[in-house]
């Protein structure tokens, strides 16, 4: 069974168990227009709309978490036929139906396209993790774990997973319109078994990317002290912030050097 079949099986099993699922086939909606759908979203999307930082009090809902399950994956297939274009599936409760502060969460973005090449896999994978392009949706991470957060403001705008799905589809198409022929988003909420199965599948999916980028990943892994993302810095949206911090490090080092030059005790900078 290939990765897509395994994902489909997990989705179907979860649907059967849950019965609480919704499928939005946007393409089958009369006169569907993605631009129009994006303009009707209750939040803004695009580069720079969101700084990506939420304080605890500003968080309404954690999708996954420190003590909850999270899985987010992008699977790219060199065929568009097997992906249901513009379909968003939700298994489990929608955002406003969730009463807990934290839920187990999985998101799969399935992408089909004959022109998908190894060189873009890295970028395609990155987009799912970097949510600083959706106003009010934040990505939190700790070592080896990450999760999404919905802000109070976003929640109050009656956001639904359909909206979030449209946002992700639009963000993907904005950047990869030439190569994506079909795209589908699946959310699974609060189904521990299904999410655990998806987490188990992650190394297999990851292998597809790491095989394509073995040399590059190794090179970057050597350079970086600490980064949970295995793509190169050059394609990372957080690169500018990392560079700012590097500048702060340089400023501090300059100060220490100056103090040393003056033969002053560097404990003065403590």
């Amino acid at each position: 069974m290939n990765e897509l079949d395994e994902i489909r099986t997990i989705i179907e099993e979860s649907k059967l168990k849950y019965k609480n699922y919704q499928v939005w086939d946007l393409a089958s909606t009369e006169n569907f227009n993605l631009e129009q759908a994006v303009s009707e979203l209750p939040f803004n999307i695009g580069k720079g709309v969101w700084k990506g930082i939420l304080l605890n009090d500003d968080v309404k809902l954690n999708l996954g978490g420190k003590h909850a399950l999270t899985s987010a994956n992008v699977l790219c297939i060199n065929s568009s036929d097997v992906i249901h274009n513009f379909r968003i599936s939700l298994i489990g409760p929608d955002v406003l139906e969730i009463s807990k502060k934290t839920v187990d969460f999985a998101m799969m973005v399935l992408i089909g396209g004959k022109k998908i090449e190894k060189s873009v896999l890295n970028k395609l994978k990155r987009t799912i993790y970097l949510s600083n392009e959706i106003d009010g949706l934040s990505l939190r991470s700790i070592s080896r774990k990450f999760w999404y957060q919905i802000s109070n403001i976003l929640y109050d705008k009656q956001v639904s997973f359909k909206h979030i799905g449209i946002a992700f589809i639009a963000l993907y198409l904005q950047e990869f319109e030439d190569i994506i022929e079909s795209i589908e988003v699946v959310f699974i909420i609060d189904d521990e078994d299904a999410i655990l199965k998806l987490i188990d599948l992650e190394p297999k999916i990851k292998k597809i990317y790491s095989e394509a980028f073995k040399d590059k990943i190794w090179k970057y892994a050597k350079q970086r002290d600490d980064c949970d993302f295995d793509w190169e810095c050059a394609v990372c949206d957080y690169q500018s912030i990392c560079n700012e911090i590097r500048n702060i490090i340089k400023l501090r080092e300059n100060k220490i050097t100056k103090l040393k030059d003056k033969n002053e005790d560097i404990s003065g900078c403590r």
Binding site: G52, S138, S143, D226, I241, E244, I248
Partner: protein, 256 residues
């Protein structure tokens, strides 16, 4: 400055050992810097009876916020004062100083923020003769955000096979992730009847034994009664076992 990192499988008594080693070093007339680097539990802070919100992680969040949203003057100000800010976050008592790392959290992944704080922590650590780090199971997170190299890696194990197997894994991972000059294993809560078998097992697994701690009921009793470990009688077998081990560690650290 000598840095000792205490690691081991969860539940083997890492924090208790850290506390007792610190106590022994204090009794020798030193003022150690203790670093509570277990991001999930912060048991050391609890054992010391200290509650603090001032963690390195909070500072890291501040660094990221300023880097993200601050203007030029705020960034210069941060670079000028970061050492002082971190130093202020240390809780200083007569006998010891305590730094709490806290649960790392961030939006995105900003490796340079860890580099910055690690540089500052290494700088501050220079003021102390001994730095004792109570780590999570392995060394990965310590290398990332606390210090780059340590003088002595102290692996705590109990008599179980799983714990000894974890010790092997920790040693292997520590070699990969950090620089350490020397290491040793303490087998905690050792029953004399098991001693021979454990020693054979350690030899088989190529682990350096630095000492064993006898199973004593006093610690369990104190924990059950919710009392502090400072109430542990100085005549306890555990304390005398540990004192001999600290002797060895200090010698090894000073010779390395």
């Amino acid at each position: 400055m000598k840095i000792l990192a205490v690691v081991g499988k969860g539940g083997v008594g890492k924090t208790t050992m850290t506390y007792l080693i610190a106590q022994d070093i204090i009794n020798r007339g030193f003022h150690p810097l203790l670093i509570d680097a277990d991001p999930t539990m912060s048991h050391l802070m609890r054992l010391l009876g200290i509650k603090t919100e001032n963690t390195i992680e909070n500072i890291r969040q501040g660094v990221i916020r300023i880097a993200t949203m601050g203007d030029k003057s705020e960034k210069i100000n941060l670079a000028q004062n970061i050492d002082e800010v971190v130093s202020d976050c240390i809780i200083k008592s007569v006998d010891y100083s305590l730094m709490v790392i806290g649960q790392p959290q961030s939006a995105g992944c900003f490796c340079p923020s860890n580099t910055l704080l690690r540089n500052v922590i290494e700088n501050i650590s220079d003021e102390y003769e001994y730095v004792i780090i109570d780590c999570e199971a392995g060394m990965e997170q310590i290398h990332r955000s606390v210090v780059r190299s340590i003088d002595f890696l102290l692996i705590i194990s109990d008599s179980s096979l799983r714990s000894l197997e974890t010790a092997v894994k920790i040693k292997k991972a520590a070699k990969k992730y950090t620089k350490f000059k020397d290491y040793g294993v303490i087998v905690n809560r050792l029953r004399q009847t098991h001693k021979k078998a454990i020693l054979e097992m350690l030899k088989k697994k190529d682990l350096n034994l630095i000492g064993t701690i006898r199973e004593v009921s006093e610690i369990t009793n104190l924990e059950l009664e919710g009392k502090s470990l400072s109430d542990l009688p100085t005549s306890s077998d555990c304390i005398s076992d540990l004192s001999q081990i600290v002797d060895k560690i200090i010698k090894l650290m000073n010779n390395s």
